[in-house]
Subunit: 198 residues, 2 copies
Amino acid sequence: MTVSERGPRERMVFSAAQLIRRDGVGATGLRDVVAHAGAPRGSLGHYFPGGKEQLVNEAVGWAGRYAGDRVARFLEEMREPTPSGLFAAMVRQWTDEFRGDGFASGCPVAAATVDCTSSAESTRAAVADAFACWSRPVSRALSAMGVPEARAASLATLMISTLEGAILIARSEQDSRALTTVVRELAPLLDGARTRDG
Amino acid sequence: MTVSERGPRERMVFSAAQLIRRDGVGATGLRDVVAHAGAPRGSLGHYFPGGKEQLVNEAVGWAGRYAGDRVARFLEEMREPTPSGLFAAMVRQWTDEFRGDGFASGCPVAAATVDCTSSAESTRAAVADAFACWSRPVSRALSAMGVPEARAASLATLMISTLEGAILIARSEQDSRALTTVVRELAPLLDGARTRDG
DNA sequence: GCACTATTATGACAGCTGTCATAGAAAGCC
DNA sequence: GGCTTTCTATGACAGCTGTCATAATAGTGC
């Protein structure tokens, strides 16, 4: 999760995502992003002629792709994949992170939703895209596990909704209780949706 | 939901909540709040010597109490209360609101979580309080419906988590799909938790 | 009438915001 | 070499932020 040897442009997008998920979009200044990325300030206008809005949109897109790609990883690490196991893995990523950083950072997509939905139409669309990039692999994975196509998409929405909300509660309480609770309560429902073995 | 004839102080708290849930905490200026409330600007420092942070905290507290009080209302309006019926009522409030304002406003408590958790400790505590004020009556209602005490609190957390997350997705998609989906998928789980009639 | 408090008015303050214009450096290419 | 494109540096800009000091006003009790 450290700043890699990628180009300055990519580093700025990555840093933006990190700062946004900690402080929100409004409180994240472009000068902060540049400093965090160790990038030249003069490059900002060069790489992001669309200004802050473009940078935020790319950070949101990056986060959505990241979350979607993680799903494949989770599946690989599971001997016999189950819906509840996938959800547990998705949640565990957050409990691990919270244990590491003391509940300092939440989800950048959620932050952009709260801060930009009603003021920046392009960001609103970027957020919707990010949720779709995240939801799609989850839905596919559920299908592969034996959940009927029709319900797979619904359960993916349920899983992501619940996770996002539990992240909010956990951060406010500075306690992962909400996360462990929802994974426990949702497990039987998720596994019960399978009509055949994956 | 219009500005009532209450005192300026109360109007400012209320206006702050409305603006925060639309634009986020960072993008909500104190001058905007004053203007929206039709309140005298000079009164800001008088009523809120703790500055913006105090105003935000009170707005969050107000929202939490509001959400908690609504639970009793929902129960009154139901002939025979069920867990799924309560959840449906909580969600319906949001689908109704979205239909009215075009997905312009989300939850002020979620906004404060995203924007202030890692920067303002007092606001973080106010948010946690708000979630507790909201969760408690839900949990009590579930108990009264026959859900065992131990699970009632967990299910309340699940309901609020899921609702908060679905609000985020719905706003980004400008579509209530996520909300109607989660209420449909969660219904059997909620009702199945009852071990006796309420 | 007075005295006291609660409320409001006004203006100024330093600090930060995103944006842009201009200039310069670097790197690749012919 | 020279030329072109990509990238970086620097500083300035107007606009807004939350906060505060000061003063005037209104209300209330006596």
